[in-house]
């Protein structure tokens, strides 16, 4: 028994089966990421002044990753077009390029961007103790310039043991540039190029701290949504790469020789999925890196 219209079009709908299937799947994916993005909007609108961090992500690296992902969307179309023209060699190379792009994206994300965050530290100061740390926060200056209040001191945690050991009474933090020099107008808004870390060390007493954590998902609603959405997006990239690898391995050559149109259809639907993954990133990048 054969299922009809797996490769050829049904005359009255003008479509083959998997094309409808993938569009429906993408519709469900839109709703999935839609749910997450609307949660982002909901939480961001809800967040009190000063509680939504800015400029904590590496914009140049994010830009590069964006470019890589867009490039891979182009190469996957070229791969599909090569198959349609029955040029298997060209298909093979374009597919390889797509896979490499996907792998680079994932590597940058998992081996560079995420670990860098996990290594970063921040403390939210109790409201009544904000004055004590005015030299690092510069709230008077911020109020004067109409900037949101600064509640958090960030940087590199020198005594990591302080996180676990209750007998250590203070955190020693090598400050980020903003906290090292809070009244410098240069620091009023985030920059495209990340500023280098400083040598200046601040000692923050645990008693004055509302909440202290590394830049993990638990750090704030911002990082919670950042890690959740980029994590889920990363899983999608991984899934796409695995499918592409399958269609690039010699097993695809056999399908190509038997029924080239079938392979082209497979590349088309997985390409559609890949474009969607790309599109999600186009939303992720401005929402988390720029705004």
């Amino acid at each position: 028994m054969e299922i009809p219209y797996t490769v050829s079009n049904r005359p009255d709908t003008g479509l083959w089966n998997a094309k409808i299937g993938i569009w429906l799947f993408l519709a469900s994916e839109v709703m999935l990421f839609g749910g997450l993005f609307s949660a982002y909007i909901f939480l961001r609108i809800d967040s009190p002044p000063g509680m939504w961090p800015h400029g904590l992500l590496n914009v140049p690296v994010g830009t590069m990753n964006t470019a890589i992902l867009i490039m891979s969307s182009v190469t996957v179309v070229l791969a599909w077009a090569s198959l349609k023209m029955r040029k298997y060699n060209a298909y093979w190379w374009y597919m390889l390029a797509t896979i490499v792009c996907g792998v680079i994206f994932l590597t940058v994300k998992l081996a560079y961007e995420w670990p860098q965050k996990f290594d970063h530290f921040g403390v939210y100061i109790k409201t009544e103790d904000l004055g004590k740390y005015e030299q690092y926060l510069g709230n008077e200056y911020a109020t004067e310039k109409g900037l949101p209040p600064r509640l958090e001191i960030t940087g590199h945690l020198h005594n990591r043991a302080a996180l676990k050991d209750p007998s250590i009474k203070e955190y020693e933090i090598a400050l980020d540039p903003l906290n090292a020099d809070p009244t410098n107008p240069e620091m009023d808004r985030p920059h495209f190029w990340p500023r280098p870390a400083t040598e200046k060390i601040a000692t923050v007493e645990k008693e004055d701290v509302q909440y202290a954590t590394m830049f993990l998902p638990r750090h704030s609603a911002y990082f919670a949504s950042y890690f959740t959405i980029t994590g889920l997006h990363g899983l999608h990239v991984l899934g796409g790469v695995l499918v592409f690898i399958y269609m690039w391995l010699p097993v695809s050559k056999r399908l190509y020789q038997r029924n080239p149109e079938h392979l082209a259809n497979r590349v088309e639907v997985s390409g559609l999925f890949w474009h969607f993954v790309d599109l999600v990133w186009i939303f992720v990048f401005p929402l988390f890196y720029l705004l």
């Binding site: 028994m1 054969e2 299922i3 009809p4 219209y5 797996t6 049904r10 709908t13 479509l15 083959w16 089966n17 998997a18 409808i20 299937g21 429906l24 799947f25 519709a27 469900s28 994916e29 839109v30 709703m31 999935l32 990421f33 839609g34 749910g35 997450l36 609307s38 949660a39 909901f42 939480l43 809800d46 967040s47 509680m51 939210y124 909440y211 954590t213 993990l216 998902p217 638990r218 750090h219 704030s220 609603a221 919670a224 949504s225 890690f227 959740t228 889920l232």
Partner: protein, 627 residues
């Protein structure tokens, strides 16, 4: 089904790919890891029925605590602590936590592991490809993956009963922040605790529904038989089509919410936890900045379409059976189709009527009140069309017809009692009382589940080639109908008397449940007759269970079309072989051509060609002329 006969019956139409037909599949591939839509449908059906029964058992336990709070459960009370752990029912007396767990798991299992798999996946899988004349689903492997995702999800839900602390206990809605902090802290594993397993199980159940729904829509669009145009589709196919769209679009936002709650519980984020949260008198060490309301919005964005996921397949089943047993075309087929489409659309913009108590503001409330009342219009159109379909028919009161006719007033009661809840002002009083329980159970218990019973009795001959016993079917039907009403009608009274739906002691310790009587009994005392009705209804299911399994092997043998129905599934052999049809079906006419004038038989099947004499316009029968 026997594949040797399938080869024989299939020889002619499939002569070209006979080579494919000949290799025998082993027992495991044929009945367990099958990709055949009929086998998958039956697998879904059996699992769904088992889960429905389990969910019912959980409720029967709860009914003991409500009727006789604090008393030891006789007979089985001794054994339950050994099964569910010492924290569940020490000395046969139910603990509050275990009561909450039973409530949460009753809802979850009934809806997501019982009704959805049975109503949508089982009937959809078995019946839809047959009704549209397709050889199988468009994606048979994805279909199998869908079933196995469901199986994994179901097993995880079951496993959660046996972890320390017991299964999820924050209600089937898992409202945050309660669910975020439940089952955490000392003595609880980070992953293997009730609530976290509930979330993980849910991800699998959602995946299963998504894969199934995508498959259904594609199948209905692509694999309709030649001549089976959209307006010739049986109403059941339309109902499943809309249901599938609801699942595709409504489930993912809940999946998003579940991922976020999982992050809250495992990675300690604060998606749903507000700043300043105090747990057990201690300020929680969290970042805060989350919103408990966000969960409610995302949950009910699924939750409301889900209601229609539960009821639309039942509508479809009832429509088929009403037309078949009244020997008349379904009245207002086009209005039915458009109503079901409108319901599908509107069901996405009514969700916040579950959240009146949160105080969203007058503007938001006004919007959702309006849409909620709008959605009652297509629902009433459907119910009215069903009632009118009976008018002037020569009704055959077969067992499926009994269930289908009982569905109509039962669903009617459920629907009409929902209207007060649609109004913000009335709901503020009725919210979270037994009134709400009675209202939605009238929709899903004597509503949907009667539809499902009707469908099982109706399509059983197609699946097995044998009919279920008529007498025992009636023995099943009447007590079930009576008990359903004895259970749920008094709950309206309890609810209007102000009884809260989550009281662990059934209202024993609350003045409002004891200080006045309704028809001779106080609100609390009403629990006893309700509970007894529930247990008797449990007994009334025994004839069904025995009848079901007995008839598989020993039921009365029947031909391919025992109900003298018109739709395409009845042209296939019973049980249908792999590939379904002996000859590729072609549809020449609408789905409900019953009692055509000038014909020998009172039914004309969809694959019977139109004769020249039929082409001349004919007068409608006198009773169908509008007055």
């Amino acid at each position: 089904m026997d594949s040797s006969t399938s080869v024989d019956t299939h020889h002619e139409p499939h002569a070209h790919d006979a080579a494919h037909e000949h290799h025998e599949l082993g027992w495991w591939r044929k009945y367990i890891f099958s990709t055949d839509h009929k086998v998958i449908g039956i697998q879904y059906g059996l699992c769904g029925l088992a889960f429905l029964f389990l969910g019912f058992c959980l409720m029967m336990l709860m009914r003991w605590q409500l009727a006789y709070p604090g008393q030891a459960l006789p007979v089985i009370g001794k054994w339950l602590p050994q099964l569910f752990g010492p924290g569940s029912m020490p000395d046969g007396k139910m603990t509050p936590d275990f009561y909450n767990s039973l409530g949460a798991m009753h809802g979850t299992i009934m809806i997501f592991a019982g009704v959805v798999p049975l109503a949508f996946a089982a009937f959809g899988n078995f019946v839809v490809p047959l009704q549209i004349g397709a050889p199988d689903m468009t994606f048979p492997k994805i279909n199998a993956a869908s079933f196995w995702a469901f199986a994994v999800g179901g097993v995880i839900m079951l496993v959660s009963f046996f972890v320390p602390g017991g299964p999820a206990k924050s209600g089937w809605t898992s409202y945050t922040p309660l669910s975020d902090i439940a089952d955490t802290g000392p003595g609880h594993n980070l992953i293997f605790n009730g609530q976290t397993l509930w979330l993980i199980g849910f991800i699998f159940l959602i995946t299963s529904s998504l894969l199934g729904a995508i498959n259904f829509i594609t199948t209905i669009i692509q694999l309709r038989a030649k001549g089976l145009t959209w307006m010739r589709l049986p109403f059941f196919v339309w109902a499943q089509f809309v249901t599938a769209f609801l699942l595709v679009l409504a489930f993912p936002p809940l999946e998003a919410a579940i991922i976020m709650q999982l992050m809250d519980r495992v990675a300690h984020t604060s998606f749903f936890l507000p700043a300043g949260l105090v747990v057990n008198g201690v300020p929680a060490y969290i970042s805060g900045g989350g919103s408990p309301l966000l969960w409610q919005h995302l949950f009910w964005f699924l939750g409301h379409p889900e209601v229609y996921v539960l009821i639309l397949p039942a509508f479809g089943i009832v429509a088929e059976i009403l037309a078949n047993n009244s020997r008349k075309p379904l009245w207002g087929y086009k209005s039915l189709v458009f109503s079901v489409l409108v319901i599908g659309f509107l069901s996405f913009i009514v969700w916040a009527h579950h959240m009146w108590l949160t105080g969203m503001g007058a503007g938001v409330s006004a919007f959702f009140q309006t849409t909620t009342l709008l959605i009652s219009i297509p629902s009433v159109i459907i119910l009215s069309a069903f009632f009118i379909s009976l008018w002037g028919g020569s009704i055959r009161f077969t067992v499926p017809m009994l269930f289908a006719t009982a569905f109509l007033p039962m669903f009617g009661i459920g629907g009409l009692t929902g209207i007060p809840l649609a109004f913000n002002s009335a709901d503020l009083y009725l919210h979270d009382t037994y009134y709400v329980i009675a209202h939605f159970h009238y929709i899903v218990a004597p509503g949907t589940i009667f539809g499902l019973f009707a469908g099982i009795y109706f399509w059983f001959p197609k699946a097995t080639g044998r009919k279920m016993n008529d007498f025992w079917g009636k023995v099943h039907f009447w007590p079930t109908l009576i008990c359903m009403n004895l259970i749920f009608l008094p709950m309206f009274l309890q609810g209007m008397a102000g009884m809260h739906r989550r009281w662990y002691d059934g209202g024993q310790g609350w003045t409002v449940a004891n200080d006045h009587t309704i028809w001779g009994l106080t609100g609390f005392e009403w629990n006893k007759p309700i509970s007894w009705a529930a247990w008797i209804m449990g007994l009334a299911q025994i004839p069904f269970i025995i009848n079901f399994f007995w008839s598989i092997k020993r039921g009365e043998k029947v031909n391919d079309n025992p109900w003298e129905a018109t739709t395409l599934e009845w042209t296939a052999p019973s049980p249908p072989p792999h590939g379904n049809f002996v000859t590729t079906p072609v549809a020449y006419r609408g789905p409900y051509e019953y009692s055509l004038p000038g014909r020998e038989r009172d039914f004309t099947m969809q694959n019977e060609p139109v004769e020249p004499a039929e082409r001349t316009p004919r007068k409608p029968p006198a009773d169908l002329v509008p007055v």
